[in-house]
């Protein structure tokens, strides 16, 4: 569905930012792209969005090529972006206008708009805030409205570019829960993050380091086989616990249950 084919990118020749990266994301997948500050993971996001174009190789969504301006328009209608700072995403004065804005841009028929706005706000549990002003909302609520504005456009894929990193723990939980909901409804989710607890939620992890793809596989294998601290990352608590206590079997995503069951075996 979405393909990076031998993609190279640099700002200055001889100093690659993205160095021969290839991967494919299938419809309905939940993928985390992880890496330290400066690893190139946000450049990958900009290449997906067509904000940057590869110097070599291709970035394609189905058969649409980001390098083709005509295709790029269509890609933008299919892929939504949620950015880091919830403050940066608001351009209107009420929650309803915010969600409407994108629909007006893609010329959705007027009679269809209201239904789409309400449905997308319901999906992020913000239906009671239709007339609220953005500054009255918490960071997590603002991000949820940003997500609703994207959902209203009915994209096939949403990219969360460090969308939880400026949120407080509660807001972070809310946004992660929405990601899971959307994933279960069949949406393709790409989550760019350096929080390993969050990456553990995905079905697949892509590790970018110094512009190269260093790992592509499922999270448990990632934490079992990759020395993550070499990449400025940290093992999630449950993995640290699993290793320290030498727990048997696969790493339990729900570590509390894992501890209890291990204890009761003996």
């Amino acid at each position: 569905m979405f393909t990076f084919d031998h993609v190279h990118f640099y700002y200055k020749k001889g100093q690659p930012v993205i160095d021969d990266v290839s991967f494919t994301i299938q419809a309905g997948e939940f993928v985390s792209i992880v890496g330290a500050n400066g690893s190139g993971k946000s450049t990958v996001a900009k290449l997906i969005d067509g904000l940057l174009l590869p110097k070599k190789g291709t970035v394609k969504f189905h058969q649409l090529d980001t390098a083709n301006p005509h295709d790029l328009m269509k890609i933008h209608q299919q892929i939504g972006f949620v950015f880091q700072n919830p403050e940066d995403q608001f351009i209107t004065t009420t929650v309803m206008d915010e969600v409407l804005f994108g629909l007006q841009n893609i010329q959705v028929p007027r009679e269809e708009m209201r239904g789409r706005v309400e449905a997308s706000l319901r999906a992020v549990h913000m239906e009671d805030y239709l007339d609220a002003m953005p500054h009255q909302l918490s960071g997590g609520q603002k991000q949820r409205v940003a997500i609703a504005a994207i959902l209203a456009m009915r994209p096939q894929m949403i990219i969360f570019d460090e969308a939880t990193s400026m949120l407080h723990p509660e807001g972070r939980k809310q946004v992660l829960a929405i990601m899971q909901d959307l994933h279960h409804q069949g949406m393709t989710i790409v989550h760019i993050t350096h929080h390993m607890e969050e990456a553990l939620q995905a079905e697949r992890i892509l590790l970018i380091h110094e512009g190269r793809l260093q790992f592509d596989g499922d999270p448990l294998r990632f934490f079992e086989t990759v020395a993550v601290t070499n990449y400025q990352l940290q093992l999630p608590f449950q993995v640290r616990l699993h290793k320290t206590l030498q727990l048997e079997g696969p790493i339990a995503v729900n570590w509390k249950e894992g501890i209890r069951s291990q204890w009761s075996i003996n």
Binding site: A36, N37, G38, G139, H194, Q232, Q234, Q238, Q246
Partner: protein, 285 residues
């Protein structure tokens, strides 16, 4: 130096931001300030720095009232360093060197004083001298953050206020920065006031915690008491216990015994639990 607030309130035009705050910030401690957004944390640290000129109540430093201007308004306290959120946004000079010397020059420091301060501050923040001629935009996110903090430490503050200083940093850069701040605080016997929403970091680094809720200072207590004895204070403000402490609790429950720990650092908790785990034959060693 000891900083003391007695019954301090701050009112903005139509609301009270903090109400009857009393607390003592003692020298040589890492004190974390926690609470939900809008609980009064930011107003509190702004009062400490003297950024809010009009307060009700008393503010004493070493038992002497802080200076007020002719109109009776509070003045900014120069001995306190203040690092705002995303401090690298405030870097504006063309080189790291110019950035570091900007404030000392304004204060009329001599060349000798300035270079002495630079050679003190760079290693404190894990920065090498070859960074000095570089432009801030050539640096990584973590380096920029450390340069911004270095420029505050140049003035050799007795008390440093840091507001979410690791937001946006990757985990290794974050742990490194907090450890550097901890070293500075301990080696130089300075005071850090640390505003954070990350309970893991609060448990790991602080000596004391100040809990804010709806404009009131609910409690000032040592870190161990908060996480081990009065966790309901966290619940009341919608914060969760760090996972390491939740783990401690589960093992205590399973083992049916209390496990004594002297700090809330994750490593100490794991070190205390390992022998219990081993004794139960759950380790393969």
């Amino acid at each position: 130096m000891v900083y003391q607030l007695n019954n301090v309130s701050v009112k903005y035009s139509n609301r009270t931001a903090v109400r009857n705050i009393s607390c003592t910030i003692e020298e040589g401690k890492w004190i974390s300030v926690i609470g939900q957004t809008g609980a009064g944390k930011s107003t509190f640290v702004q009062v400490l720095k003297g950024l809010i000129s009009n307060i009700d109540g008393d503010y004493l430093i070493d038992q002497r009232p802080v200076k007020r201007d002719a109109k009776g308004q509070l003045m900014v306290i120069p001995e306190i360093g203040f690092v705002f959120q995303y401090p690298e946004h405030q870097l504006f000079e063309t080189t790291v060197f110019k950035e570091l010397v900007f404030a000392p020059k304004q204060q009329g420091w001599s060349h000798q004083q300035i270079s002495k301060s630079i050679s003190n501050v760079l290693p404190l923040l894990g920065l090498a001298e070859d960074i000095l001629p570089l432009a801030p935009f050539q640096l990584s996110g973590g380096q920029k953050r450390r340069v911004a903090i270095a420029s505050v430490l140049m003035m050799n503050p007795q008390l440093l206020i840091v507001d979410e200083p690791t937001a946006g940093l990757d985990p290794v850069s974050k742990a490194a920065l907090l450890q550097l701040l901890k070293n500075w605080q301990q080696q130089e016997s300075r005071t850090i006031v640390f505003v954070s929403h990350q309970m893991e970091d609060v448990a790991e680094y602080s000596d004391e915690v100040i809990v804010f809720h709806e404009g009131c200072l609910v409690k000032q207590l040592d870190t161990r008491s908060l996480f081990l004895e009065q966790p309901h204070l966290l619940e009341n403000i919608g914060m969760s216990l760090p996972e390491s402490i939740q783990f401690l609790r589960i093992v205590e429950e399973l083992a049916g015994e209390k496990i004594n720990i002297s700090s809330c650092r994750e490593q100490e908790i794991l070190d205390k639990i390992l022998p219990i785990w081993r004794a139960r034959g759950l380790l393969n060693v």
